[in-house]
Amino acid sequence: MSLLVLEDVGKEFGAIRALSNVSLTIQPGEVVGLMGDNGAGKSTLVKIIAGNFKPSHGRVHFDGREVHFSKPVDAREVGIEVVYQDLALADNLTAAANVFLGRELKRRIGPFSFLDHAAMNQRTAALFRELKSETRPDDVVRAMSGGQRQAVAIARTRLARAKLILMDEPTAAISVRQVAEVLDLIRRLKDAGIAVILISHRMPDVFSVCERVVVMRRGSKVADKPIGQSSPEEVTALITGAKEAA
């Protein structure tokens, strides 16, 4: 059964058509690269999946049921998590505090409930081990590398038992070694049966971890094919419009 099915989804902002009749299917555990130039409709599409926007028309199915998200929390509840480009971490807190932010584990002592630091650190350490990331739960995020920050952001989504993770330009502003680390993290997610939509401008990243590539141009999907049947040259041509569709 497909995890996510978009049927003829479109979005208009007043007279401006940001997205026209896009259909897209994502299987469980599939890693799909979403590419396109600025303004091609990538963000609009992602924001519809993440619950930021309601589609003007079309239908969205997730996990076999039709869904209508009116806010990001609705999407999160069914198992869709977003890793934001700026990672949305609080720099002054530890890794464990960030992973559990807003859903802290607590222990009740009489009428009061206190944070269960040990349990949160332990679970965070387990998540980092699973992601094979060299990140310590009690280190402060401010002192971390870009790759470690990604691990913290991804560990957050693992905690929520996400089925689909949308990653917005995760490798945009980090060093070469850290890019390799992040791509490894994506492979671990796939191994754990989690589907990933990777929004990226970086051709090498998409071609090294994704099984499929979806290309958007001017609000429409112009290509959707297995990565083995495409090439960076073809994708570039599709993004720029040198090639109409594939």
Partner: protein, 352 residues
């Protein structure tokens, strides 16, 4: 929701030691690396020097004086530190101290001679609750304007500073209000008395600091306060109710000011309309000297107490040395800049 049992089966073996990730030395982490620790050391050094230079410094009378003076400022600094950690500021605390003090004294005057006299302590309890109630309303107004309407904390509380101070003068027509009534002696015991030789104000301060420390480091609310100061957008994305946390910190800040104001009534024996004028600057200075960062995300009760004590000890030292009171104001400003400068130099050194 928090079920991660699917990963907890992994062996808990190699938690600590990574080959390529170095651990920072202990003295560069945690409390030892904080501005609070540096200021604590400075405080001890200054106190040792002063006790050598002046025999009067360690006299019981002088110590009690220092202890009381700094407790009022310290209690409010605890509340303001909370606001500063979220990245906000509260300039209205000095005025709030005055209006709460005045309300408490006036209500005590008004209820004495009424039926409440028959019930032991009822008059005093009602007046203290009224004083704190006024503080709560001020804090709630600040919080609602900042969180719900989206006004800047600086401007909102600056306006509130003026409104509340004006009310304090208008209500009293400039005349000081003395607490009266059957419970007045108990009131003085509770606000200006001693417990085992220690002024009660110091005990209130230390108890409140301990509670705040517990709340900040061991409750979800405390963690959300830090998260707001670290990255407000991220805090909102994780589903934290940002507005509620903000309103709560402004209410707590005002309540701490109201409480300190009521203690000052006991100390002075009267609530003048110009009570605690200009205290907001000393209080914010104490928080900043103690290590709270005005950009948010950093601060704590230990720093608030140490910062307030440092300012008072230096002020007291200048008095003992017979230096003109006007120079004290200059020096406090100098210390603030020095404390922030030291912190800046330290972080520069630590950045690789």
């Amino acid at each position: 929701m928090n079920d991660v049992s699917h990963v907890s089966g992994v062996q808990a073996a190699d938690t600590g030691d990574f080959a390529n990730v170095g651990r920072t030395q202990w003295w560069r982490r945690g409390f030892f690396a904080s501005q609070t620790a540096y200021v604590a050391v400075a405080l001890i050094v200054i106190m040792v020097i002063m006790s050598v230079l002046s025999s009067a410094f360690l006299s019981p009378g002088n110590l009690a004086n220092v202890a009381k003076n700094f407790s009022f400022v310290g209690i409010v600094t605890l509340g303001v530190t909370l606001v500063i950690i979220t990245g906000g500021i509260d300039l209205s605390v000095g005025s709030t101290m005055a209006l709460s003090a005045i309300t408490c004294a006036i209500v005590m005057q008004k209820v004495s001679g009424t039926g409440l006299d028959a019930v032991p302590l009822a008059g005093m309890i009602v007046s203290i609750l009224c004083g704190l109630g006024v503080a709560l309303l001020i804090g709630l107004s600040n919080g609602l304007l900042i969180a719900k309407v989206g006004l800047s904390p600086f401007v909102t509380t600056l306006g509130m500073l003026s409104i509340v101070r004006g009310l304090a003068y208008a209500v009293t027509e400039g005349r000081g209000q003395a607490p009266t009534g059957p419970d007045v002696n108990t009131f003085y015991e509770l606000t200006d008395g001693n417990l085992a030789g220690v002024p009660v104000a110091v005990i209130y301060l230390l108890v409140l600091a301990a509670i705040l420390s517990l709340v900040l480091h061991h409750t979800a609310f405390g963690r959300h306060v830090f998260a707001l100061g670290g990255n407000e957008k991220a805090a909102a994305l994780t589903g934290i109710s940002v507005d509620r946390v903000k309103i709560a910190v402004y209410v707590l800040s005002s309540l701490s000011a109201g409480f300190a104001g009521i203690l000052m009534v006991g100390w002075l024996g009267s609530a003048p309309a110009n009570l605690a004028t200009g205290y907001e600057l000393t209080i914010i200075a104490a928080a900043v000297i103690g290590g709270a960062n005005l950009t948010g995300g950093v601060g704590g009760p230990a720093g608030a107490v140490i910062g307030a004590l440092l300012i008072e000890v230096i002020r007291n030292g200048l008095v003992l040395a017979g230096i003109n009171a006007y120079w004290q104001i200059v020096l406090v400003g100098g210390i603030i800049i020095l404390a922030v400068l030291v912190d800046r130099l330290r972080t520069l050194r630590m950045t690789p």
